[in-house]
């Protein structure tokens, strides 16, 4: 490690408040199940071992985290297209079907003057899925390209993504609730359209992506 690197590293340590020595480097591993601190020995610390206390499998880092996250992210990115281009909801009004995509629904609400609902659905159905995909992609890229800047903000963003992921299901809940509530036979009824499935896929896959990603990887390169 040359001086420049060291200097830089120290700067980073100061800036990000991260210790120089990681648990992995120190041969210490944390049980994900019971948070027992274990010492990784030469013999056994290399790969998988079970926690002597709770029996959970122990890794220094989630195995194949980056690869899996990438795979899930790519899946989500593909599914986003049918989810947004195909109709998500079919309204039968006097037996005439009327398909609408997510965006058409939002525009409808805005046209009707229901800005609040429009904003909520727009946020939950358009903003958050895109935000999740781009956010996790950004973190993955920053790991891959070893971008060391703003790690703290990225970590904050990742926690936000984890928290907000489940709310993207709002749109699906709305459709299922409407289907249950609005069933007046020939007069009016609502059914989910194909995009609902793709959209659910996007939400689920991005949630899994957030789970498979190990944020500690961000700090490993220091």
């Amino acid at each position: 490690m040359n001086n420049y690197k060291k200097l830089n590293m120290e700067k980073n340590i100061e800036k990000n408040g991260v210790g120089y020595i990681t648990g992995m480097k120190a041969g210490i591993v944390l049980c994900p199940g019971c948070h027992k601190v274990l010492i990784a020995t030469e013999k056994n610390g290399m790969r998988i071992r079970l926690c002597p206390r709770c029996g959970a499998s122990i890794h220094f880092r989630k195995p194949d985290s980056i690869g899996r996250t990438w795979a899930l992210l790519i899946t989500a990115a593909i599914l986003v297209f049918p989810a947004n281009l195909l109709p998500v909801m079919r309204v039968y009004s006097r037996n005439v079907p009327d398909d609408s995509t997510i965006m058409e629904g939002i525009i409808y609400f805005f046209k009707e003057g229901s800005y609040g609902i429009g904003i909520i659905i727009f946020t939950a159905s358009i903003l958050i899925p895109f935000f999740k995909i781009t956010g996790i992609s950004l973190i993955l890229f920053s790991i891959h390209f070893k971008w060391k800047t703003r790690l703290k903000q990225k970590a904050l963003m990742f926690r936000f993504i984890q928290f907000v992921g489940r709310w993207s299901m709002l749109d699906i809940f709305v459709i299922t609730l409407l289907q249950a509530f609005i069933d007046f036979g020939i007069l009016s009824s609502i059914a989910p359209a194909p995009a609902a499935a793709y959209f659910t896929g996007v939400v689920v896959v991005t949630m899994f992506a957030a789970i498979t990603f190990d944020p500690r990887l961000m700090w490993d390169e220091y």
Partner: protein, 903 residues
């Protein structure tokens, strides 16, 4: 610095299957999207009302096959272009003759369609074409197109003059089952509409080449005097219009209709049944009318006059175009003779009466020869072909009155034959009429049979008035002949009757007069009348409204003051007639009206018209002998009153006295006031009262009569019954010699005399509140009542007459004290308070008399029982000690339980 213990796995994570799957899905979706991308077409419409871009769909057989994407106005602003994205599956169907039309809800008086679009909104309907040339631009239809000629089923065409309420979609019915519909119509010329129709394939076999179609739209109402007809195919045909069809039975086997066949659409069912056309030249079409006038044969309709036209020949006759039912084709023969039956009126007869109601009709006598359909109407022939088996006879008559062909021949009012022909006899002196007696009745005609004319209305006018006589109602219009065969008819009908020609009497009377055998047996009597009134020869004599005889003639007495009517009573009724019988004129209507009501009195209906004489038996008498003379009273009442006694009553005031007022004795009417006249000097009125003979003894010198009229005063209502029945004359019989003239009292007698019980007189200073019927009390029990009061002869006292009811009469002794118990007696002192004394509540209102008898009545001579007419003093008030008297007196037995009710 790298951790030596970490080793990277070389194999690819199975998680990468996910993006691959997503990619596959996405790719498939992309492929499908590209493959299924709609075909964009443009359809041009006149207007795009109710079409919504993005919403309005294109339907084919009920499933959506496309959506309207955009609507633009076309270049020259004449219509609209609809940009439509069609389902890619229809790629091959979008050819140049593919049709598009907009289905909108349509509700009009005649049609309801596209009801489903009310809910779903309008949509476009399409029908693929058969062409092979693909097209992407189309012109939309204004309305739904008719079925293509290629559609399975039967496509036929109708010719009709007017469309009526038919329209596209109107159903074609067979036995009320819709089997097809109208597809469209075109106006071919001014008087011809061509209708395209379609019959569903499953019903196509029902339509034959000879099938008749008629316009069954709406309700057909055809009415004339002979009845009316209401036709309606179905409710839906009422709204949509409809076509009915039937195949004539005879033509069931004709070949099935083929596509493109032409049929005539008749105006209605009747029209469709038309058969053969024929023409009839007439001198006049009077009474005939196109479409309604019928051609009749023996009462059956065989055709209809379809139109009447004016002829251009030199005689300027009229031609009737007639349509004869196909079944009646046989009548169209050279020798068939036609004529018009019209009502005929004459002074004594009405002919063809039914034509008055139904209008004139055309009738005919079928003949032979070749087929012919052009005829000239003639006159009705006076003969008729014989259709029934029987025997033919001939009648000789003075005139042809009441003859008509087919007129019935009656025997005992049963038709046994008919007149078949009549004509002038050679020489023209009389009429010869042929008639047929039906085979089974021929034995009724014997050589001595008498024939006379019946029927029609006989009007005999003479000096004694006009008598109208009608025979059986059936013969009133047709006329007829009746006959009778005197004597026993031989049971053996095989014995033939040689005589063929009979004389026909003009009337039954003449026949009877000329045939002594027929004159009925009975009693001849004479009636004496002052005037003939409406009685004439032939007037019936009625007994209990049954005709028992008749007047046969009349003559005047020598002096000319009376008229003697000869009457004849039939033998079987002769026993009803006794010497005491009274005859009266029952003719006409007798109306008597006054305030107490209107009496309308009539005899039987017949007697109103024809007059009549009635008689009744007031009491038994001897059987009459021939030529016994009776008096004919003017009316029934006069006859009834014939033996009544006249009593003359003198009334000071005419008020309330009028004709019809009853005279009653004890509520039972004895008679009535017959007439009221002024007495001498106009000061009084004399009412003449008719009373029964039996009541005569009631009218004696002392008999008192007075008028009872309702009286409303402060004291009450009197004679309530007379309010309803009107005033009446009351009578109180008296003694003396019988009289016929009496003078009425001005007012009812003040004293009522009651025969039973004890009548005594009380003397008093004042009358007090006593009045008639005021009670007499003993120990507060009513034992009698006041019957009247008057001043004593010297006016010093008031005499109150009282009557004690029978069981209580022993209570009254010579020393009995009476006092006035009327009103309330009130005495008062400072220490004793107020004392109110009253006999009974009733006596407060009605007044009353109380009495008491001393205990020592037996010892004292004064205590002897009182006798009628005894005088007592009526004290002002009773003494206290009188009330303490407590005598024991044996009452009489109550022989009359409810006697007190008479008070």
């Amino acid at each position: 610095m790298t951790p030596p213990l970490l080793k990277k796995s070389s194999r690819i994570s199975p998680i990468w299957i996910l993006p691959v799957v997503a990619l596959v899905i996405g790719g498939w979706l992309l492929y499908k999207g590209v493959k299924d991308a709609g075909i964009k077409i443009i359809v041009h419409f006149e207007n795009a009302e109710s079409v919504v871009p993005g919403k309005t769909q294109i339907m084919y057989k009920g499933i959506p096959v496309g959506t309207v994407v955009e609507i633009t106005v076309d270049e020259n602003m004449k219509g609209v272009d609809l940009y439509i994205e069609m389902d890619s599956r229809l790629k091959d169907s979008l050819v140049e003759d593919t049709l598009f039309w907009i289905v909108r809800p349509e509700i009009s008086a005649g049609k309801i369609s596209g009801v489903n679009t009310l809910f779903s909104g309008s949509y476009l309907e399409t029908r693929p074409g058969i062409s092979r040339l693909p097209a992407r631009e189309f012109t939309g239809l204004a309305e739904s197109p008719s079925l293509p000629i290629t559609a399975p089923g039967l496509h036929i065409k109708f010719n009709t003059a007017a469309l009526g309420s038919l329209q596209k979609g109107s159903q074609i019915y067979f036995n009320n089952i819709p089997i097809g519909s109208v597809q469209g119509y075109i106006l071919m010329s001014q008087q011809n509409v061509l209708i395209n129709a379609y019959i569903k394939p499953e019903y196509a076999h029902l339509v034959k080449k000879n099938t008749k179609f008629w316009n069954a739209s709406g309700i057909t109402f055809k009415g004339n005097l002979s009845g009316f007809k209401l036709e309606m195919e179905s409710i839906s045909s009422l709204i949509y219009g409809g076509i009915g069809m039937y195949t004539p039975k005879l033509k069931k086997n004709s070949p099935n209709a083929e596509n493109g066949d032409f049929f005539t659409l008749y105006e209605d069912l009747d029209d469709s049944m038309t058969g053969i056309h024929m023409t009839l030249k007439l001198c006049s079409a009077e009474g005939l009318a196109a479409d309604t006038s019928r051609v009749m044969y023996r009462g059956l309709k065989v055709g209809t006059v379809s139109s009447l036209t004016f002829n251009r020949d030199n005689k300027k006759r009229v031609t009737a175009n007639i349509i004869i039912n196909p079944e009646s084709e046989f009548i169209l023969r050279e020798k068939t003779r036609f004529w018009v039956a019209r009502p005929k009126f004459s002074i004594n007869r009405i002919q063809n009466m039914e034509t008055i109601l139904k209008g004139a009709y055309i009738t005919f006598e079928p003949g032979g020869g070749k087929f012919c359909d052009d005829f000239t109407a003639g006159v009705q022939p006076n003969s008729k072909s014989i259709l029934r088996q029987g025997k033919k006879f001939t009648l000789v008559s003075e005139n042809s009155r009441s003859f008509s062909i087919g007129a019935p021949v009656f025997y005992k009012e049963l038709q046994v034959g008919e007149i078949t022909a009549f004509d002038l006899a050679p020489g023209g002196n009389h009429i010869l009429a042929d008639f047929l007696i039906y085979a089974r009745y021929t034995y009724l005609v014997r050589s001595d049979s008498i024939f006379w004319k019946t029927g029609g209305i006989h009007i005999d006018a003479g000096l004694d008035g006009v008598s109208v006589k009608a025979e059986m109602l059936t013969t009133l219009f047709t006329g007829g002949v009746a006959f009778i065969t005197p004597g026993a008819l031989p049971a053996d009908s095989r014995r033939p009757n040689k005589k063929k020609i009979f004389h026909l009497y003009q009337t039954y009377q003449k026949a009877i007069d000329a045939t002594p055998v027929l004159q009925s047996k009975g009693v001849k009597i004479q009636l004496q009348a002052i005037s003939l009134k409406s009685v004439s020869s032939g007037t019936p004599i009625l007994y209990k409204q049954v005709e028992v005889g008749e007047i046969t003639g009349f003559q005047m007495t020598e002096k000319g003051e009376n008229i003697i009517l000869d009457a004849f009573i039939q033998k079987k009724y002769a026993h009803l007639l006794k010497t005491t019988s009274r005859f009266y004129n029952a003719s006409g209507v007798d109306i008597k009206g006054n305030l107490s009501g209107v009496h309308i009195k009539t005899g039987s209906l017949k007697s109103i018209i024809a007059g009549g004489i009635g008689f009744f038996l007031p009491f038994p008498g001897e059987p009459v002998k021939k030529n016994h003379s009776f008096t004919l009273y003017n009316d029934y009442q006069a006859a009834l009153d014939a033996d009544k006694i006249k009593i003359f009553l003198n009334f000071a005031s005419p008020h309330g006295i009028k004709e019809g007022v009853d005279i009653k004795y004890q509520g039972i009417a004895l008679g009535k006031v017959k007439k009221v006249v002024y007495g001498k000097g106009m000061e009084s009125v004399i009412a003449t009262v008719l009373v029964d003979k039996e009541s005569k003894m009631l009218f004696r010198e002392d008999t008192r009569i007075w008028l009872v009229a309702p009286e409303l005063t402060i004291f009450g209502v009197k004679n309530l019954d007379s309010i309803i029945t009107g005033p009446y004359i009351a009578l109180k019989p008296g003694k003396g010699d019988p009289v016929v003239t009496l003078t009425a009292l001005a007012a009812p007698p003040f004293k009522e005399e009651i025969e039973v019980g004890l009548n005594i007189i009380l003397q008093s200073r004042r009358l007090g509140s006593l009045k008639k019927k005021s009670p007499v009390y003993y120990r507060q029990i009513r034992i009698g009542s006041v019957t009247g009061y008057d001043l004593s002869p010297n006016a010093s006292r008031v005499w109150v007459y009282i009557n004690i009811s029978p069981p209580y009469t022993p209570l009254i002794r010579k020393n009995t004290r009476f006092w006035n118990a009327s009103g309330i007696k009130m005495t008062g002192g400072i220490f004793s308070g107020v004392k109110i004394d009253a006999e009974t509540i009733a006596s407060i209102v009605a007044g009353g008399i109380a009495m008491a008898t001393p205990e020592n009545y037996k010892k004292d001579k004064k205590g002897a029982p009182a006798a009628d007419g005894d005088m007592f003093t009526l004290h002002e008030k009773g003494e206290k000690k009188w009330l303490l008297w407590n005598p024991e007196i044996q009452l009489k037995k109550r022989f009359q339980k409810n006697h007190q009710a008479s008070f």
